[in-house]
Amino acid sequence: MIIAKAEARGAYDVERIRADFPILGRPVRGRPLIYLDSTASAQKPQSVIDAESEIYATEYANIHRGLYYLSERATERYEASRRTVQRFLNARHAHEVIFTRNTTESINLVAATYGRRFLQPGDEIVITGLEHHSNIVPWQLLREERGIVIKVAPVADDGDVPLEAITGLLTPRTKLVSVAHISNVLGTILPVAEIIRAAHAAGAKVLIDGAQAVMHLPVDVQALDADFYAFSAHKLYGPTGVGVLYGKEDLLNAMPPYQGGGDMIRTVTFEKSTWAPLPQKFEAGTPAIAQVPALAAAIDYVTALGLDRIASHENNLLAYASERLAAVPGLRIIGTTPHKAAVISFALDCAHPHDIAQVLDNAGVAVRAGHHCAQPLMERFGVPATARASFGLYNNRADVDALVAAVTKVQELFGQ
C-alpha cells in the first residue's frame, strides 16, 4: 500500500496523491497532461500497476486446477481478491461476487441467464432515459428473443430521474428494474435505495449499473438490498479486462450458467454435464488471473484514501468547475441537478463538441466529446453530442483552471 492509513486519514493532499499516478507526470503534446476523462476510464496508481506485474513476475500460473505451489498461490490471490470485492460491496458471501470482463458483460450475463430463464412474453423491464447503451441494448436483444416490454422512465430537464418517474411505470408485470446508479453523461445520482424499495414492493428484481458509482460513493449492496450490482475495475483506478457482477445467492443459484466451458462444471459426460457451485458456475474459462488481484489493489487504494474523503474532494472540484464554466458566455451545462457526481457535460454556442475537444487536446486537456454511448439521452436534450469533463480523485483546481482557459481559447477561435 503506497499510502499509509494514518496519513490517509489526514488532510486530503491531492498533490501527494497525484504522485502515485505515474501517467500524470508525462507531458502530452508538449504540455502537462490534464486528464478529465476518468468517467471513460481512470488512470492507475503505481500500486495497481505493480500488483499486476507482480503476479506475472512471481506468482503466475493457471488457477483452480494446478496441484503445485504456483497454481495454489495464484488461486489464493484470485480468491482473496474476491473477498476484497465482497468487503468493498458489503456482500453477504464472497461467492456472490462473479468476475466478468466489464460492466457490459455483467449486464449481458443477467439478461442472458436471469432474463432468458425467468422472463415471459409481455413481462416488463423498466430502465431510464439516461442509461448507457450497455443497459439498453442487452434488454432489446432479450426483447427480440422473448417478446418482453421495455419501459423507459423519462429524464427531467435538470437531468434528474425522480423516483415517481420510475414508480409510475411499475405494474404487476414488471419483473426487473435496471438502472444506472450514476449517469455517465450527466453525473446524476439516482435514488437507488428508494427505487429498489419501490421495485421490491411491486415484486420486481433490481439491477444497478454501478459503473460510474463505485469510485464516487460507498456502496453497500445489503443495505441497498440490490439484487444485482455491476461495475468495472478500469473506472475504479483498476486494470482493464475485469468487471464484477454481484448477485444475491438465491438468484445466482436459480440462474442457468452464462457460458459453458472449463472451470464452470462439476462433471462432464457426453450425455450430460453438471454445474460447479457459485461462483465458478459463472466463470467459464481462464479468467483475468493477473488483473483480478490488481482490482483488489485498486480497492485497497481507494479504501485507504476513504471514499467519503474522495467524494468530498470531488464535490469541491465539481462546485468550483461548475461555477467557473457557468460563467463562460455561451456555455450550457447539461445536467444541473444538485444530486450529481463530478461529471460535467457541456455545449458551446460557437463550437461543436468535436471542435471543443480538439482545441482542448491541443492544450493538453483530455475530455470526451461525442454521444458517450447514450444516444437517446442526446436526443432528449436536443444535442448531437456534448463535451464532457469528468473528475477523479487525482484532479485538482489547476486542472479546472486549465479546462476553463482552454474553453476560452475555443471561443476565441470559433466565436463570431
Partner: protein, 153 residues
C-alpha cells in the same frame, strides 16, 4: 494558439464553418443522399440537380456538424457546381487522397479546385477528423449513385 492547430483550423475553414455556403434545400433536386457519422452524431443531406448532359447545375447540403465537416461540405458545393458527374467523382478521389495522406493525382483541368480544397489537408494529421472532412464527399458519391444512405465509421 499553436501552429498545428492553425494548420487544422485555417481561416478559410473557420469562415466556411461559421458561414456555410449553399446550406439549403434544393426543391427540385433529382438526386440526394443522407450521410451520417454515428461516432460524432453528424448528419447531413446532400442535394444535387443534374441536367440531361450530366452536368451538376446545383448542389447544396443541409445538416449540422463540427467546423471541419461543415466547412468541407460548404467548400465541396462550391467546387462541384458546374462539373460533370465524372469530374465530381474524380474530385472525390483526389480529395480523399488529400485528406488521408495518400498520393493526390488530379488532372490539370481540376487543379484550381484542388488548390481550394487544400485548406483541409491538415486533417491528415488527425485520424479521427478525417471522417469529418470526408462525410460530405461520401454522401455526394452516394447521391450520384442514388444510394439513399451512407455512414462513415
Amino acid at each position: 494558439m499553436s501552429d498545428d492547430l492553425r494548420d487544422l483550423y485555417q481561416e478559410v475553414i473557420l469562415d466556411h464553418g461559421r458561414h456555410p455556403r449553399n446550406r439549403r434545400m434544393i426543391e427540385d433536386a433529382n438526386h440526394h443522399a443522407r450521410g451520417e457519422n454515428p461516432l460524432c452524431g453528424d448528419k447531413l443531406i446532400v442535394f444535387l440537380k443534374i441536367n440531361a448532359d450530366g452536368v451538376i447545375e446545383d448542389v447544396s447540403f443541409e445538416g449540422q456538424g463540427c467546423a471541419i465537416s461543415t466547412a468541407s461540405a460548404s467548400l465541396m458545393t462550391e467546387v462541384i457546381v458546374g462539373k460533370s458527374e465524372k469530374q465530381a467523382e474524380e474530385l472525390f478521389a483526389s480529395f480523399h487522397a488529400l485528406a488521408t495522406g495518400g498520393e493526390v493525382e488530379s488532372s490539370e483541368e481540376l487543379e484550381d479546385e484542388m488548390d481550394r480544397l487544400h485548406v483541409l489537408a491538415g486533417v491528415r494529421d488527425y485520424p479521427v477528423r478525417v471522417k469529418c472532412a470526408t462525410l460530405a464527399w461520401h454522401t455526394l458519391v452516394a447521391a450520384l449513385k442514388d444510394e439513399q444512405k451512407v455512414t462513415t465509421e
